[in-house]
Symmetry: C3
Subunit: 343 residues, 3 copies
């Protein structure tokens, strides 16, 4: 399988990285991640170039890793600094190091040419850290499906009514069509559902009752990151659709790690503008979101099995598929561009 490689991918929450060697997989690459003595974090290919023992089986000595098989030792730039029993260190004795940034509590790796690793290109959401907003780190869900299936799902308001009836959806939304806005490396799918009942999540935590206007804005950013702007207000209270922050608003953000062809990690957090000081509801909100994402997981893993069973089946296309199909074309075109060596 091929992936977009000239991009930043999330891999693990930074607060889960300590002074142990831990193994991760991103785009089929095994990667060892560990914290340096100065508090920074490093990421190397998790394969000793000598006999291919995983470096994560070795020992962390200061900021270097000593391979557990023959003691070859690498610094955090991937350079071999010691070969026991041998004075000359061959030039080829090195492992790939990955450019690394921490943003939104998440470790991001640049999977392409290090010289292209511009931190400004990491997924961004302006409300994070801004006054009046409260950000809550969520969790990581492992789903046994191709990451593009999860991307389909995260660009798809139409499934909410059916998959998340008990958490995020209400039957009222089923028939409302969506709008699609396409950027160069972004897609936004959005709709307003007016004069409907409040969804269970906002009824419980947003203190809304009666008829509301509610919206979804699902925004995709290449290669596979999402912010979903969900909000509600008393019916008719926000005539200008750009002033959504006057209502009860919550962004859930999803940063995906394509592990391999059939496995994806979904890392998520939320940012909200209501009850920002009441941190005791953070866990309850996260639990509700986690439950909803597990509902998707069930469906996506079954679809994965079906797709592997019969790779030549031709899906029929509905109106709701426009944005997911556009997303897949954008990804395919970018992969093709990279293969052709275009910038």
């Amino acid at each position: 399988m091929t992936y977009i490689t000239e991009a930043w991918y999330p891999v693990v929450w930074a607060d889960r990285v300590g002074r142990e060697l831990t193994r991760h997989t991103v785009l089929d690459e095994p990667i060892v991640i560990y914290r340096l003595e100065n508090g920074d974090i490093a990421a190397l290919r998790d394969v000793c170039p000598h006999r291919r023992a995983p470096l994560s089986l070795g020992k962390l000595k200061g900021d270097t890793i000593e391979c557990g098989y023959h003691g070859m030792t690498f610094d955090c730039s991937g350079k071999c600094v010691l070969i026991p029993g041998q004075e000359i260190i061959p030039r080829t004795a090195m492992v790939r190091a990955f450019p690394l940034q921490v943003k939104y509590g998440m470790v991001w790796l640049y999977m392409g040419e290090p010289k292209n690793a511009d931190p400004a290109k990491i997924f961004h959401i302006e409300q994070y850290g801004k006054e009046g907003w409260h950000a809550v780190q969520g969790d990581t869900l492992r789903i046994e499906c191709n990451y593009l299936s999860l991307c389909d799902n995260l660009l798809d308001p139409a499934h909410v009514t059916f998959v998340h009836a008990s958490t995020l959806g209400t039957p009222a939304g089923a028939a409302v069509p969506v709008n699609n806005d396409y950027g160069e490396s972004t897609i936004t799918v959005w709709r307003w559902i007016r004069n409907g009942p409040v969804i269970p999540l906002f009824e419980k935590f947003g203190k809304l009752q009666g008829l509301v206007d509610r919206w979804h804005y699902y925004t995709y950013s290449m290669p596979c990151n999402f912010s979903i702007d969900m909000g509600s207000c008393v019916a008719g209270a926000i005539p200008d659709m750009e002033k959504r922050s006057e209502g009860v608003q919550m962004f859930t953000c999803h940063m995906l790690t394509p592990v391999d062809e059939r496995t994806v990690l979904q890392h998520w957090f939320h940012v909200r503008n209501f009850r920002t000081d009441e941190h005791d509801i953070d866990a309850a909100l996260s639990a509700g979101l986690d439950m909803a994402y597990r509902e998707d997981k069930v469906v996506l893993e079954r679809i994965q099995i079906e797709e592997e069973r019969d790779p030549h089946f031709k899906n029929i296309t509905l109106g709701i598929d426009a944005a997911p199909m556009k997303m897949r074309r954008m990804v395919a075109a970018t992969i093709e561009s990279e293969a052709a060596g275009r910038p």
Copy 2:
């Protein structure tokens, strides 16, 4: 793998089908089966044509299935009757429905062209339901082997002495040769073993003692159904071999579901002419038969592993292989006929 498709195949006992959506696999096809409000049973391909979610993950609403992902709704003929958020339903929005019959308590599906689905072609045994005979529904055994290996086994009296020593066989039978009668889509393998000891099953339940004549008639019907006529009488009591019903006689019938290349379901029942009113022995007889079939399962699953390990091994052929080999030629010729478009 290819199968005979213009045929009725058994899939599940009808009394196990209720108002839930249950998933089955026949000839590699995933199928959802459920009971309609009027008591009938329906069978659809268990794949939503939109994104391939299994329909069995959805909801049964009346006699329709609502897909659990986006709410596409199909009636029991496979026709899409609702797409949420979209007024026009594309012609291609349908799933395959399978012609279905219930016979001998079993749900049968026609896996070929619906127009060819003639119920008269379902496996038949005349004693079922006839006066003087008592039919007992058995069970379903899942065996991890190709269905043709189980067909070999069910056309093969010679293995009984060795595999079923404690249940159906006695050493006396080992050396008695078999006769083979071939029809257009049937094969019967039979033998009489005269003046031998009674087999354990008939000793216990048929109340026979001392020397007996006993017979086996193994009858195969395409594609993969069997009746096995086992019986015994006091030695010499039935000179006319066609009057076997004067003795203690029991038909065990086997209806096979080829699930995939390496899995088969063996559904079985028995019909007997002795102690027909004593229903308390039904379960004991079934338990004895079940034990015997599990003895076959052990052998067949090991052979399957060996065949997969070394697909090019050439078996040697013995006299007892004539009928199984004929059966395999009949199946292969029918598959070839279907591929060539011959009726």
Copy 3:
């Protein structure tokens, strides 16, 4: 995968073979092994040539095996002696029998042409059974890796410091280079580490203290057998390196069964010249060795996974790889010779 076939391979400890039929796999061949009435041991291919049921599922009758499916019966030379229901036994009705020897408590099979099966070519170690030496049967470890990876490991003193720090190694040895002696079908890698601390094993059992000279001689014999001569003496006590038996000396011998491409059995025993009458330390020594070999197992199984994940990765080569690389070239050349029909 191809293997050297004109060779004796170990398969199972003789004292674990009784009057049951047990299944083993050597070079991808399934083999049934059992003890004859006269106490000898026989080995046949574990596949009935009729329908491929494993013979090990059948019954041992005297020295013959009756297949559990149709009763075909084979003697210990592999000749079919009975086909129930059939008078003529086809010439082809036989199974392969393997030439078999017992040496060092181990059952050895000749996997090539029986006429070439010269017992003098079985792996040999002269100290076994000699006065002043005590031999202790060890155990069998199953490792999920290619047998050549374990061969690499058993020709490689350099890993001891890193993998076996708590059992066989000390940091002192890391930098001492090795010597390689090459024979026609043998390789010896050896080194002396002088004036170093005693290793944990000899400190505990060999009653050595203070500074010692210690040595390793790793000797490989085709196809995949090893003796490892480990020993120590008070620093400077043995000026002549050929007089190692004057010190505390222990041979650990490793006889490998390549089961299939990704599985190997490591059978091992030791022979020692110290505390030869104190049999109560045998188990303690074996436990220590077993723990060390399990340390290798962890590394080797992870390398196997990595090699399967990326078969085209090119390892870099260090000085310590000379002997393992020579070993692999010897094996490859012998396989090529056999394929070309050269003696």
